[in-house]
Amino acid sequence: MHPLALNFDFLFSNFSQLTVTGLALGAVYAMVALGYTMVYGVLQLINFAHSEVFMYGTFATLWTVYFMGGTARTSGFALARMLTVAMVIAMIVSALVALLLERVAYRPLLKRNSPQLMALISAIGASFVLSETMGLRDNITRWLGLNDNFSRYVSGARDTRGLPMDIQTHQLFPIGNYHVTNIDLIVICCALLMMLLLDQFVRRSRLGRGIRAVAQDPESAALMGVNSTRVVQLTFLLGGLMAGAAATLYMLRIGATRFDAGFILGVKAFTAAVMGGIGNLRGALVGGLVLGVAENWGSALVGTQWKDVVAFVLLVVILLFRPTGILGESLGKARV
């Protein structure tokens, strides 16, 4: 097939399947994009290590399932319970990694008023440290002499590790000629719910007001009695919670993870954040969903090997016509 022969016929006849699965993929992008966009809005820092926060969440999900005795035969209610617990634990783990990241990689630099470039380099370094630590976990447990107890958790350290059970998809209701599955529904609804909660939190609560204040003008916020250190911690915490939830939803759909699984997803999520308007929470949501759907449509039209090209061309086109992204305005509204 000629690469420029756009396969519209295929796109339209499978429109609902491509769109629904694209939305499910996009929902995961959106939740991870929230972490990027919030940190950028408050600190003007691109948190490159956020992809590893997500990756640790996927491993937390996997290990919780192992720990709770998940086997290939676990299903139904027991499986649902196991995955819910796994999601809570993944959110906590991701939040802790994010807080650790803030404390070790960023706060010392911010306290010294170092240039943004230093924080960026620190972010990249932190990303490598975190992903390689996961990739060398079998060596680490060997040094600590813990090998036998944890062999199930640390074996195949650089390989793809999958959930022990196959999560059965049940077809629920049809949209067009595609039957929406339970997993599609869970992922999309869960993601939308969490993003709605976060949005309401930032808009209405006192702490959320603090975040917006620091994003708008850190000095005035300090004069108004907002503790900027606490606010930064809170920002990282919220980003981590979202990434952890996204991680479990990702494991629900894909079922397997690796020590470097965060990287590509992180790049896509950051792209989504920029596409929607960096620093804008609702922008991250819109950007993520748009990116997920665009990737699928692009794959259908031109071929899956062009998927990323389509996504980034879309980004460039959007920025050409709306340089501040689709929804434009930032967290603090008045940020230039």
Partner: protein, 380 residues
């Protein structure tokens, strides 16, 4: 000031130290001993391939197989000790090139088991050919490698050019598929294999797609497969993506056959797919399954590790070199001549080289069932 100066000096020393360690090799030898009377002292063969890094498993499978051959040799010929020195390239052609120079300069090395990967073989072929140092690879399957006129390059496996037509034959005859969807991962290996299968299948191919390495979401490809009504899918690529692909295909209700090449023949395929989704998949390979005998010796010599893909071929590769040394060919040129005229049965097949390629071409089909890869049977 004083602190700054000290720090700077320390930094320079540390950097120098790092640079020096980078010059060193990760080498480990097995079974050393006093030299015999009519063979040169400190005779060595080298192993060149991945021992660490993302592809470690593939290289370790082969070097472990070579260990078994070395152990067999040492038991039979205690008068002429040979050791194997391993050179870790991490599967990277750039590192392999530097290590090849070191291997060539070490005059006690008379033969090389490897290089393990096609990329490394391509990058080091000229150097080894120029030095007249014989290499026997257990796993470099790129067909182009034997077109460069290297007298030193040999491999004991069939190439991807042999695997593809056999795979197409299997799909047509054994699976009796009517509509085949062929997917590749855009890599040189995956695309090459898939294109060969496409050619062999002709108009049975109902659709094509290309994915990327490290891709995890295949929903668009899955949609294409299900809407095309294909009853067989062939994937050219590696196990990480193959596993996720078959899992997503089955989750979308795909009920047909799934077939892939030797890049997917790894327990990692089952890990990524989950035991249920992986069941019924057929993975082909020019590599032979291990016999019970070999498995026993392998585990005894390698800390109870299980033989893997190309372990038996690793044994054969090392064995050819060691047979030559046992026959008194202890110089590089005489060993090269010996290998070029080799004509004996190996563990996996009868071995005779024709321009570096082994003359016996066998492709094995491995079926996945019960959550494990079952021993393969040759494709007739």
């Amino acid at each position: 000031m004083h602190t700054k100066h000290t720090l700077r000096t320390l930094a320079v020393v540390a950097a120098a130290g790092l640079a020096l360690t980078a010059c060193g090799t990760t080498s480990s030898s097995s079974t050393a001993g006093d030299s015999g009377s009519n063979c040169p002292a400190g005779l060595k063969i080298a192993f060149l391939g991945a021992q660490t890094g993302d592809y470690a498993n593939l290289g370790i499978n082969i070097s472990n197989g070579a260990n078994v051959a070395l152990d067999d040799y040492t038991k039979a010929h205690s008068d002429c000790k040979v050791t194997m020195q391993k050179y870790d390239s991490q599967g990277d052609p750039n590192q392999a090139t530097k290590l090849a120079t070191q291997i060539i300069q070490d005059k006690s090395i008379v033969g090389v088991v490897g290089p393990a990967f096609s990329g490394e073989s391509g990058a080091t072929g000229d150097a080894f050919n120029g030095a007249g140092l014989v290499t026997v690879s257990a796993s470099a399957t790129d067909p182009a490698l034997t077109t460069h006129g290297w007298t030193t390059f040999h491999r004991v496996v069939a190439t991807d050019a042999d695997q593809a037509p056999q795979d197409a034959k299997y799909i047509k005859d054994t699976l009796s598929a009517k509509k085949v969807f062929v997917i590749d991962d855009s890599s040189e290996y995956g695309k090459g294999l898939a294109d060969g299968v496409r050619k062999g299948l002709g108009n049975l191919v109902t659709g094509s797609d290309a994915v990327q390495q490290k891709q995890t979401d295949f929903s668009a490809t899955v949609t294409k497969v299900t809407s095309s009504g294909a009853d067989a899918v062939f994937y050219g690529g590696y196990y990480a993506e193959a596993g996720l692909l078959i899992k997503q295909l089955k989750a979308a209700g795909y009920k047909g056959a799934f077939m892939s090449g030797d890049g997917s023949l790894d327990p990692g395929f089952i890990q990524a797919a989950g035991a249920d989704a992986a069941n019924g998949a057929i993975l082909t390979c020019p590599c032979a399954p291990s016999t019970a005998d070999f498995t026993k010796k392998y585990k005894a010599d390698n800390n109870n590790a299980e033989p893997g893909t190309y372990s038996a071929e690793g044994y054969d590769s090392a064995n050819i070199l060691l047979n030559g040394i046992a026959a008194g060919k202890t110089s590089r040129s005489s060993l090269l001549d010996y290998v070029n005229s080799y004509d004996q049965d190996g563990l996996t097949k009868h071995i005779k080289f024709d321009n570096g390629d082994v003359s016996t071409v066998v492709i094995y089909a491995y079926k996945v069932s019960g959550g494990k890869i079952q021993p393969g049977t040759p494709i007739k």
